[in-house]
């Protein structure tokens, strides 16, 4: 097991190294550069050059990369934003709890909706409830979450002069006020993410309900609730849990749009603003940090599987 853990952990290093190279290269390959963006229409040529020099963009590309990655590896320094000149790590650490809370609430909402609707749909197969659940699942899969988010913001303001609560308050300061602002974006995001969970839950449960041991349970005269919840659900949940695990990066990636629409001061908004300003160090470092989190989570899931199933650690 120890060898397996070490081997898997070592594999994370080249993954993150590749991510760093790809993100760095992609930022430099984007048309225009940050200096141009910073001086925009007032780009007097001498100033532009001076700015490039100030930012260190006049140095060879490999020197810029080594400077950035070296700072992280040797000093734990993720660099400073070109625009705000603030340390990136400080900003990331300050904003991460917001994104984490949004992701947790979203997962909770999507899982609850997905599982409940999936169960009802499967148990009441080919009834009105099943059709309604399937329509809901298709809708959730089809409607982009950012489109739904804009509609939730815009339409109530036109019809009812109402908008969601906007002023972000940390959970530690006022949990109720915090949930008031987090609930609408988490619902919007969670409902759309519940689509695939509903589908998987329904098909997995239907599959399990046709198994012999369920028939045996029925024949023993057990009640529907006991059969479904105690005997069938446990086995049907395995693909659902796998799917939720696979969706984790989507929750973090999706926060970019949701946070910018609902003005939640999380990592997503930080990343979005940096990207629109071509703030190279921020985009690179935040990408790398998020990649490290995703790789870490995947590693954790794999190790958990290995812990639970000894056969895996020998592969």
């Amino acid at each position: 097991m120890k060898r397996y853990v070490l081997r898997r952990a070592a594999l994370a290093v080249p993954t993150l190294f590749l991510v760093s190279i790809i993100v760095f290269a992609m930022m430099r390959l984007m048309p225009g550069d940050v200096a141009t963006r910073m001086v925009e229409g007032h780009a007097y040529a001498p100033t532009l050059e001076a700015l490039r020099k100030d930012l260190g963009l006049d140095r060879p590309i490999h020197v810029q990369y080594l400077d950035w990655i070296g700072g992280i590896l040797l000093r734990g320094d993720f660099g400073h934003s070109y625009w705000t000149r603030q340390p990136i790590w400080d900003e990331f650490a300050r904003r991460f709890p917001v994104t984490l809370e949004l992701a947790a609430l979203t997962i909770l909402i999507s899982v609850v909706i997905g599982i409940v609707v999936g169960i009802v749909s499967a148990v009441r197969q080919d009834t009105v409830a099943d059709y309604a659940g399937r329509v809901l699942a298709i809708l959730a899969l089809s409607v982009p979450y950012f489109g739904l988010a804009v509609l939730v913001v815009v339409l109530p303001s036109i019809w009812f002069r109402w908008t969601p609560v906007w002023t972000y308050v940390p959970f530690s300061r006022d949990p109720i006020a915090n949930l008031q602002i987090m609930l609408v974006p988490a619902l919007v995001f969670g409902v759309t993410r519940a689509g695939p969970i509903m589908r998987i839950m329904r098909s997995a449960l239907l599959d399990v309900l046709r198994q012999d041991y369920i028939r045996t349970a029925w024949s023993k005269g057990l009640g529907e609730r006991t059969v479904v919840l105690r005997h069938a659900l446990k086995n049907a949940m395995i693909p659902v849990i796998t799917l939720v695990g696979l969706q984790t990066p989507l929750y973090i990636g999706g926060s970019v749009i949701v946070e910018s629409i609902f003005r939640l001061p999380g990592v997503g908004l930080f990343f979005f603003e940096a990207l629109t300003r071509l703030d190279y160090p921020v985009v690179q470092s935040v990408n790398l940090m998020v990649a490290a989190i995703v790789v870490g989570l995947n590693l954790l899931i794999d190790l958990t599987y290995a812990f639970l199933d000894p056969r895996i650690r020998y592969h």
Binding site: E40, T84, Q86, R161, W166
Partner: protein, 536 residues
């Protein structure tokens, strides 16, 4: 006799008193209340280290300059760039290259550490302007300044390399030449730290919850007595445009956008959902142009450029896209710049038709004369991301030019590439797009037409024009300068170096209880809001 004299005297006194009372009693400003706005987050708070207009809007709340534009009740219209005193109570030209500023006495910085409300002196002015000239992305604005000297505690002398008429306007343009206290930089390294935002302006920077909100409160020691009227201003940081509109609709903020500004489309929509809102359409300092490589064929031929201009149906565009509220006489000086604008209607019609006229038949004749009887094709570089009605503008251009035989191949570009190449005049043949708003007529003329200037997008080289362009910026007497500027506009009328497109208006939008706010073209949010009050 004495009695008659007394009666006459009494009558005269009465008349004087009546004359002294304003004819219509203006509503007295109420003090108090907090104004709420929704806007994006400023990338930085240091006025010298940022070229973002958002930064300049944010920190203009807290800083003052040597001089400023007229705002609120002082301004005649939204683009009135009259220079009025700010920290300098007066100034005088000792000779064409020596300008002396005399500072107000007793003006104090905000009462925050490490500055703790000390008095502003000439040293602060020298420090601030020299810092601007060393570090700002706009430092070319003060390039003609050779030396800044402290004459005494309240007097500063600027020595110029040559006479430079736009100087005062650049000093008044918020807020990149803000006067800053050196102690704050010593403590915080720059002025980007929220605690380093210490100025002499109407509002004190109170708190900054990043990504959430910024709070300013009234400066109790502001040197303009009785101002500002508001107790404070809260800016709700709202990156998403539709969310900003929703906040205004729902009454959560009094102003969306930092200018209280909305596009025509947003304004019309708000009029339907919120009929109680004040909506004032205004021409603002902007311009949309078709620009050419006038140093290369086919656009080095004035007949071709004139044909392009005559092919554009400006009135039709205005009706179809701008509800007839736009301005069709948009260049070379923008519609809104009233003090300097020489209207096409008051120019020689034979020349002015190439500025504002629509005559496809004449355009075809001109093309034939230039050797393009069968027309030709040209690319039209542009950035498709500009807000409406820009996408329609590109398509209308292609349509209008197609009717006279010029086949336009629309070439959309990525924003970064567009800004760093096309926008700076590095493109092939033809391009279309808006122009950065400027507050000095020099930028619209010298900047757009003088060789090697980054905003000379049409690559104009015109020896006769150059002399006039240089002369207007050396002429310090506004009346004499206006004569030269008029001559330049007359000269440019039929050259068609740029083809000017109809200019869209904007709406100033807020609830009716917001009083005293007047839109002004520029980024001086603090100055605009110091006259604003809430009637509720």
């Amino acid at each position: 006799m004495v009695r008659r004299g007394l009666v006459t005297g009494f009558c005269l006194l009465l008349l004087t008193l009546i004359a002294a009372v304003p004819p219509v009693a203006a509503q007295a400003a109420k003090r108090g209340g907090v104004l709420r706005m929704a806007e994006r987050e400023a990338p930085n708070l240091d006025p010298h280290l940022s070229v973002s207009f958002l930064t300049h809007c944010y920190v203009s709340m807290a800083y003052s300059q040597l001089v400023r534009f007229a705002y609120g009740p002082e301004q005649k219209h939204a683009s009135d760039f009259t220079i009025v005193p700010d920290l300098a109570e007066r100034w005088e030209y000792k000779n064409p290259t020596t300008l002396v500023f005399y500072l107000r006495k007793g003006v104090k910085f905000h009462n925050k550490p490490p500055v703790n409300g000390r008095e502003v002196t000439a040293d602060d002015v020298k420090y601030s302007l020299e810092r601007f000239m060393a570090k700002s992305g706009f430092r070319a604005r003060l390039e003609p300044v050779q030396a800044i000297e402290v004459v005494d505690k309240y007097t500063v002398r600027l020595t110029l390399k040559e006479p430079f008429a736009p100087l005062l306007n650049h000093l008044a343009n918020p807020v990149y030449t803000a006067i800053l206290p050196r102690e704050a930089e010593a403590k915080f390294k720059d002025f980007n730290h929220p605690d380093a935002v210490i100025g002499t302006g109407p509002f004190v920077f109170k708190s900054y919850d990043k990504g959430v909100r910024v709070v300013w409160e009234r400066n109790p020691d502001y040197f303009v007595k009785g101002l500002p009227h508001l107790d404070g201003v809260v800016l709700e940081i709202t990156p998403d445009a539709s969310a900003r509109v929703s906040l205004l609709r729902a009454g959560r903020v009094e102003m969306m956008q930092i200018f209280g500004w909305s596009s025509v489309e947003e304004g019309k929509s708000l009029q339907q959902t919120n009929p109680e809102l004040v909506l004032i359409p205004q021409q603002v300092m902007s311009q949309g142009i078709i620009y050419f490589r006038t140093d290369q064929p086919p656009f080095n031929d004035v007949r071709v450029r004139r044909a392009v201009s005559l092919a554009i149906d400006r009135k039709g565009w205005n009706e179809a896209l701008l509800y007839g509220e736009g301005c069709t006489d948009a260049g070379p000086v923008p519609c809104a710049m009233k003090e300097w604008k020489l209207e096409a209607a008051s120019q020689d019609p034979a020349k002015a038709k190439y500025l504002v006229g629509y005559d496809p038949a004449e355009a075809k004749r001109l093309l034939a004369q230039a050797g393009f009887a069968k027309g030709f094709s040209t690319p039209a570089f542009h950035w498709p991301g500009y807000t409406p009605p820009w996408r329609n503008y590109y398509e209308m251009t292609a349509d209008n030019l197609g009717k006279i035989g010029i086949q336009v191949d629309l070439k959309p570009e990525e924003y970064g590439k567009y800004i760093s190449t096309t926008y700076l005049g590095k493109f092939e043949k033809m391009a279309i797009g808006p122009v950065t708003p400027f507050t000095e007529v020099d930028d619209w003329l010298y900047g757009a037409f003088y060789p090697e200037q980054p905003n000379n997008r049409s690559n104009v080289v015109d020896v006769d024009l150059n002399k006039m362009l240089a002369a207007q910026r050396r002429e310090l007497d506004p009346k004499k300068r206006k004569i030269i500027v008029d001559d330049i506009q007359r000269y440019l009328a039929d050259k068609a170096y740029y083809v000017y497109l109809p200019n869209a208006p904007q709406y100033q939008t807020h609830p009716p209880y917001v009083k005293g706010f007047k839109h002004h073209d520029g980024y001086g949010m603090g100055y605009k809001l110091m006259f604003t009050w809430l009637d509720k």
